[in-house]
């Protein structure tokens, strides 16, 4: 059984790439490689993470230029193939602009960038990114974004709810004015998730505000999902 490998997409202006790498590679011992945005053929990776930052300096609109880069065309293909794709913060914005996820991320209602800790609650623990959480489990996690207010029209919202695509919700401590306190959503199939909060910043007790690194469960869930898939492949 081959150990899983995770790709980390790096755009000019990505700035959480090394943080995600630290968690996956150093803390969880799973090989994670940086993949530059010009790469138009990605093979050998079991999942992709699009980290936070300011891809292309947020020029035009957060995520829009990155959404048209070669690597995102590959990410789309991988998503179609059912591989897990996780977008964090700017990564979420890119996934939305790439139309892998519905809705839009708008300027925070405060009209200011906000970096602070908040609490989120797991609404759907049946995704590859949340399977190790209990349903309704709440945990502390920081946000850091200027455009993190999730908005979607009522049709989309209805669909999201019906298909259980709302994965994380802010629990009464909404940092940005998101519709229905949405902090993370997934696609219909559940293999593509975008989240505004930063799990990589809450993955070590030392860095958290209450000494609890519950957020690492996002990555643990992903890795356990990949390992199960490899096992199934091996059996088959």
């Amino acid at each position: 059984m081959a150990p899983p490998k995770i790709g980390i997409a790096v755009f000019p202006g990505s700035n959480c790439d090394r943080d995600v790498h630290h968690v996956v590679n150093n803390l969880l011992g799973i090989q994670a490689d940086f993949i530059w945005h010009t790469k138009d053929c990605i093979t050998g990776y079991n999942a992709m993470i699009i980290p936070g930052g300011f891809a292309f300096g947020d020029r035009l609109r957060a995520g829009i230029i990155a959404a048209h880069s070669p690597i995102v065309q590959e990410v789309k293909r991988m998503a179609m193939d059912g591989l897990p794709v996780l977008g964090i913060c700017n990564g979420f914005q890119i996934l939305v602009e790439a139309e892998l996820l519905p809705g839009a991320l708008m300027m925070n209602d405060s009209l200011r960038f906000v970096c602070r800790w908040t609490k989120v609650q797991v609404q759907n623990n049946r995704t590859p990114f949340t399977s190790q959480f209990d349903k309704m489990q709440a945990f502390d996690i920081p946000v850091a974004h200027g455009e993190g207010r999730y908005v979607a029209d009522s049709e989309i919202l209805k669909e999201l709810k019906k298909k259980n695509q709302i994965v994380l919700q802010y629990s009464n401590d909404d940092p940005n004015g998101s519709t229905d306190l949405i902090a993370a959503i997934c696609n219909e199939e559940g293999n593509v998730m975008g989240m505004m909060p930063h799990p990589e910043r809450a993955s070590e007790n030392l860095l958290t505000i209450n000494g609890r690194n519950d957020a690492i469960t996002i990555f643990r869930s992903l890795i356990s999902h990949l390992q199960q898939q490899e096992q199934q492949k091996a059996i088959a």
Partner: protein
């Protein structure tokens, strides 16, 4: 153009050259010999600072101080200000200030891991007609710092903010950055003949023309063309490309282009390397058509770096710069001679010895004790308010003291997964390093104290910095200083500068702590007059073990101790200045021996885990320190103020005096603390315990408040900024 050199300077230049200097040469030298770049007024005094010893690695031409962590890793630190530009265009001025200091850290071969900033504005509350302008400056300076730091992905983790009316129509924006890297990656700054000089990054435009000269004069007219335009995205690309180039061993010397543009960068690098440079200006990628050689040489367009590389490494560097789509040009080569030779389309337009350009003739500045000091030495003691509880609430709402949450929530202070003690949680920011150690960093200033007594005021900033890092569990290992004053040509102003330098020399020698970097900024004045003397001290501390890291929040069932003596030293206190509107009176004095002993006792308590929380007493005094710890810990307390070691005659003095070398700690083991402290030779007392509400008791008198009242006052900045 030109005309920046004084007559004597021009005469000196031409004597050395043994010929007339042409206009371009005069502009190049004018930029480099500006106060901003040359330190011509301050250099003689800065030589007195103890810059060596301890962990300091010294080498010529370093843009930042380097501290050896003795395990293959180094820390770098640098501080800069961007006062004039920020006063004119706060967003761009502050943002480019961040950019400049980050490039200095990169220039050492280290990756910047944190930014801290110290900001000073005129009051943003009250009836003064400058309130609206001050708020505008404050809001946009914060926004500029946030946009730049957030985008580039370097966390802004702390700092300090002071409001004082001497900053009317003006502001001080000091930015410090720390870097971390491998010792082997530190740039050696050596070059051979034939090495290639590469200019990379942003195009050169007419923005920031005469920026250094602009910063070397009093701010009079609004000179927006002297302010540079920020592009954090490009800086991020430069950062990654530079780190990659260093990893590939491409680079022999780097320098960022800051004040004075190419003029300063080329002359200083050439002088540091001890080699001549021959550069061709027509190769510079310019932003606009028809730029003259003068403009190209002195433009301060941002996000530009100069690399000196071995010619065989050129293809490797080129492929890295191409990967990041960074524009670059091969500007010239390193020569056997010692001159800076500047060409335009092949013909020489300027040629001067680099050493001459890089070393301005030093100015002799007269210095005289200011007359105002006699006037403010003694003031009539104000009548204490009947309700000291209300006075405490007023002080907590004072923007110089109130929570800066509104500010630091706009800064990404978490990116990089290093921030252990976050803004607002402790006395200093504490960052985790890759080698298991942690670094604590804090900036401290106090214009009010320094105005009344620049010597004691500066000692106080140093003491406060030491206290701040000690409270987090760190051992101080170095300081940086940023000395900000009005015109050095005014003998009374210059005297305050020399006093500040003397204080740093005395303090650092006594504590055996090196000054690892610094900056001087003069001419901080407007038509309203000079700013108050505003030295800002950055203190770095090291924590060897993450379990030593301590925050300031009181915890339930804590016993509360005060360490240090409280004297009626009310001059420059927020209580006098903000609450009573009084400027004057005796300033808190630093006793170096006491300062050292108290710090060492507290560090012992903190590191042994006896102190579960620790906080220093500074602006607002003991009452504010206790309130801040209570707010952070969401708990009340009951303290007996009569037990506090003090020589005060009145309760308001005891509560709000800003005497130095004082700490408050909370502990679960009061007996053990009582047992240990007597042998440390420090003044201390157990003054109370946590409780459900707030009670200050003195004899029969009790001041009662609720935690909610403290919180509302302390969290008032957001409301102030919205109103």
């Amino acid at each position: 153009m030109g005309g920046v050199l004084t007559e004597q300077e021009l005469q000196y230049l031409e004597e050395k050259l043994q010929r007339k200097a042409n206009e371009i040469e005069q502009d190049i030298v004018g930029a480099e010999w500006s106060e901003h770049c040359s330190y011509k007024s301050s250099k003689k005094y800065l030589r007195l600072l103890p810059t060596k010893g301890g962990r300091v690695i010294v080498a010529p031409g370093y843009d930042a101080g380097v501290l050896d962590l003795c395990d293959g890793y180094v820390l770098t630190v640098h501080i800069e200000s961007h006062n004039h530009p920020s006063a004119v265009e706060p967003f761009g001025g502050a943002a480019t200030g961040v950019g400049g200091v980050i490039r200095d850290i990169m220039s050492m071969g280290t990756r910047p891991i944190a930014v801290v900033d110290a900001l000073r504005f005129a009051p943003i509350t009250g009836k003064s007609k400058s309130v609206a302008k001050s708020k505008w400056l404050f809001k946009n300076v914060v926004k500029g710092i946030a946009e730049y730091g957030n985008c580039i992905g370097i966390p802004t983790v702390g700092g300090e903010i002071e409001f004082d009316s001497s900053f009317e129509d003006y502001c001080l924006v000091d930015v410090a950055s720390i870097g971390f890297g491998r010792k082997e990656d530190i740039i050696a700054n050596q070059a051979e003949i034939g090495d290639v000089i590469v200019l990379a990054g942003g195009s050169t435009g007419r923005d920031g023309i005469h920026g250094a000269s602009f910063a070397s004069k009093a701010l009079q007219a609004e000179n927006r063309s002297a302010v540079q335009i920020p592009d954090p995205f490009l800086e991020k690309l430069l950062l990654e490309a530079t780190m990659e180039a260093i990893k590939h061993g491409c680079i022999k010397s780097i320098k960022d282009l800051g004040g004075g543009g190419l003029s300063c960068c080329l002359s200083e690098t050439s002088d540091n390397l001890g080699r001549g440079f021959d550069v061709e200006l027509s190769r510079v990628h310019a932003r606009e058509e028809g730029m003259t050689p003068n403009e190209l040489m002195i433009s301060e367009s941002q996000e530009r770096m100069l690399y000196v590389i071995d010619s065989t490494k050129l293809p490797a560097l080129q492929s890295i710069l191409d990967k990041y789509e960074i524009r670059y040009t091969i500007l010239g080569t390193v020569q056997e001679h010692q001159d800076l030779v500047v060409r335009r389309d092949g013909s020489v337009v300027a040629q001067m010895p680099s050493h001459l350009v890089a070393h301005a003739p030093l100015a002799d500045r007269a210095s005289r004790c200011p007359k105002y000091l006699d006037r403010i030495k003694s003031v009539k003691q104000p009548r204490a308010p009947a309700n000291l509880g209300k006075a405490l609430l007023a002080l907590l709402a004072n923007p110089s003291i109130a929570s800066k949450r509104w500010v630091y929530h706009q800064y990404d202070h978490e990116v990089g997964v290093r921030t252990v003690v976050k803004p607002g949680a402790g006395d200093a920011a504490v960052m985790r390093l890759d080698n298991g150690k942690l670094v604590a960093v804090k900036l401290d200033g106090n214009s009010k104290h320094c105005y009344l007594d620049p010597y004691q005021g500066t000692l106080g900033c140093l003491s406060e910095g030491r206290r701040n890092v000690i409270c987090t569990g760190a051992e101080p290992v170095g300081v940086v200083d940023h000395l900000q004053f009005a015109s050095p040509e005014d003998p009374e102003i210059f005297w305050t500068f020399t006093q500040a330098v003397n204080a740093i020399v005395d303090y650092c020698k006594f504590m055996d702590i090196p000054v690892v970097g610094g900056k001087v900024s003069f001419y901080n004045e407007t038509v309203n007059g000079p700013i108050k003397p505003s030295p800002v001290i950055g203190t770095l501390g090291l924590v060897d073990d993450a379990s030593h890291v301590t925050r300031s929040a009181l915890q339930k069932d804590d016993s509360i101790f005060v360490i240090g003596h409280t004297s009626p030293e009310m001059g420059g206190s927020e209580y006098y200045e903000y609450y009573h509107g009084i400027t004057g009176g005796p300033v808190p004095q630093v006793n170096l021996q006491t300062d050292k002993q108290n710090a060492s006792a507290v560090l012992k308590l903190v590191r042994s885990g006896l102190a579960g929380c620790a906080h220093d007493c500074s602006k607002g005094g003991l009452a504010v320190a206790l309130a801040e710890m209570a707010i952070a810990g969401r708990t009340g307390f009951k303290v007996d103020l009569s037990s506090v070691p003090n020589s005060c005659k009145a309760l308001d003095e005891l509560m709000f005096s800003e005497s130095h070398s004082r700490y408050v700690i909370g502990t679960k083991e009061p007996e053990e603390v009582r047992r240990i402290l007597p042998s440390e030779g420090v003044a201390f007392a157990e003054i109370g315990k946590t409780a459900s509400s707030i009670k200050f008791v003195q004899g029969k008198k009790t001041i009662r408040l609720t935690l909610k009242q403290l919180q509302i006052s302390y969290e008032s900045l957001e409301k102030t900024m919205q109103s």
